[in-house]
């Protein structure tokens, strides 16, 4: 399974270097290095962060509906980026947009633990996350309603739908370190997540207190998903669907899903991004469809099929 995912990721990555707005092939080495390479690497990294974070959060919150969006971290990142955009910071200083996104994710993570209390449990964290998401989307809607002109409104809306068009090596340099650190944090949580499957008391009696596991899960997700949202916009559904795709094959033990979820997230987003690039070449479209739309289009049918197999 792991080998298959690695092979699929490498294959899609190679395709990603060969395909772009200029068509299939290698038109110019600068296009490959400056445009296709960062875009392909970002798709893999952002997807891996989303998939891994989804698997960790579903395990930690013991809830099949959990995903990074549920905790409001993605919403916070989107709000931070939109604020940077709205106040014209990003026009004067390009990295302000992703930096705003990272700051938004960090603030959301702090607020999450402020709201959930000092010893968070799964229900308190979910409720705080839902409150935070609602707040973030309300403030986003406010920013949209007060947008200075129709052009800015369209730009923000399109950015919110997610995409990797025209991302540079600079974006990669900005997003890769937090995503990698976040993923390293998340990958170490396997035993704590397994212990939590037997309940919070048992986890604690096994030496893995729930509060500590959830704290690191939120910090790791804030880094991995926050940085991903900061450079790629809101890409939903990857974190939700990836663990569900893997469980029928790998079983339900949370720790076993983690490395595979990172790989499967990367493969899913690489595939979605390739489709996004190919769409204007194959279909009469004036521009690429948003990445977040494609991930939902790809993932939803799988989820529907799995939903029918889940025992009552």
């Amino acid at each position: 399974m792991i080998r298959g995912l690695v092979a699929a990721g490498l294959g899609l990555g190679a395709l990603g270097l060969l395909l772009g707005a200029a068509g299939f092939g290698v038109p110019d080495s600068a296009i490959v290095w400056q445009l296709r390479l960062p875009r392909t690497l970002l798709a893999g990294l952002v997807g891996a962060g989303l998939g891994l974070s989804g698997a960790v959060l579903q395990g930690g919150l013991r809830n099949r509906l959990a995903d990074p969006g549920l905790l409001g971290i993605g919403g916070g990142a989107a709000l931070g980026a939109v604020v940077a955009f709205y106040w014209g910071l990003s026009a004067r200083f390009a990295p302000a947009l992703p930096l705003g996104g990272l700051a938004g994710a960090g603030v959301a993570c702090l607020a999450l633990f402020g709201l959930a209390g000092r010893a968070p449990s799964a229900p308190s964290l979910i409720l705080a996350g839902v409150a935070l998401s609602a707040l973030a989307s309300a403030l986003l809607a406010l920013a949209l309603a007060l947008a200075p002109n129709p052009f800015a409104l369209a730009e923000i809306t399109f950015w919110l739908m997610g995409g990797l068009q025209d991302r540079s090596l600079g974006h990669l340099a900005l997003a890769a370190p937090p995503i990698l650190v976040g993923m390293a944090v998340l990958l170490r949580l396997g035993p704590g997540l397994d212990a939590l499957a037997l309940g919070e008391d048992v986890a604690r009696s096994l030496g893995r207190p729930v509060g500590r596991t959830l704290l690191w899960a939120a910090i790791g997700s804030a880094l991995a998903v926050g940085a991903g949202t900061a450079v790629a916009g809101s890409i939903g559904f990857v974190g939700l669907v990836v663990p569900h795709l893997l469980r029928p094959v790998l079983g339900e033990r949370p720790a076993r899903l983690l490395p595979a979820a990172a790989l499967a997230g990367a493969v899913l987003l690489l595939g979605a991004d390739l489709l996004a690039r190919a769409a204007p070449l194959l279909l009469p479209l004036s521009q690429e469809p948003p990445l977040g739309v494609l991930t939902a289009l790809l993932g939803a049918p799988f989820l529907v099929r799995i939903a029918r197999q889940v025992a009552p």
Partner: protein, 228 residues
Amino acid sequence: MIGLNAPTIRLHGRAVLHDIRFTALPGQMVALCGPNGAGKSTLLRGLAGLLPGLPGRDPKQVAYLPQGAGCAWGLTVADVVALGRLPHGDRATGPIDRAMALCGLEALRHTRVDRMSGGEVRRAMLARTLATEAATLLLDEPTADLDPAAAHAMMALLRAQAHAGAAVIVVLHALDLARDYADRMVVLNGGRIVADAAPASALPAAAAAFGLPVGLDPQPRLLPPAAA
């Protein structure tokens, strides 16, 4: 040796236990009995180091099984039992296989716990606590969803663990099981220990706590297996 000395234990601002002085010795099987709300589970959680303000325990030395323990995911029996090795940071096959054999789980090794009967799940959860090879076993109502034969089998298994050197503390509603298998019966009522003695001597106090009479029953009733 595991014990708890506390003048009062509060939970959510309410005093639930008073004047608790309790110590269990290795090689001893202790039954905690008493009416609903007497504080049995709280005392057990206190012993397990799970109450705020009380000292924590070494997870290698104390294994705890809560009431009605289940599993959030469809883990296999082998996965669940292997979690008992988490405090040791290994997946040592010796203790895992021994625990599964003791609980009669070999044939179910690769079965998912969400596709098993209540009694089978209970045995898998017990095997998880045995795999830790802890000096102390704390079990809350381990026989609650077992049929009479399975309940007797589990009590015999726990008594064998105690007599092999472990301190076994079991919360039990079934006074007859406590009487048949425990070395010592601790009766709780209203958050206080009202009796602490050999089961035959503590039984009247337990009956009084429930408001039931004690006497000899001339009617036929189920007995423990002849070997027990």
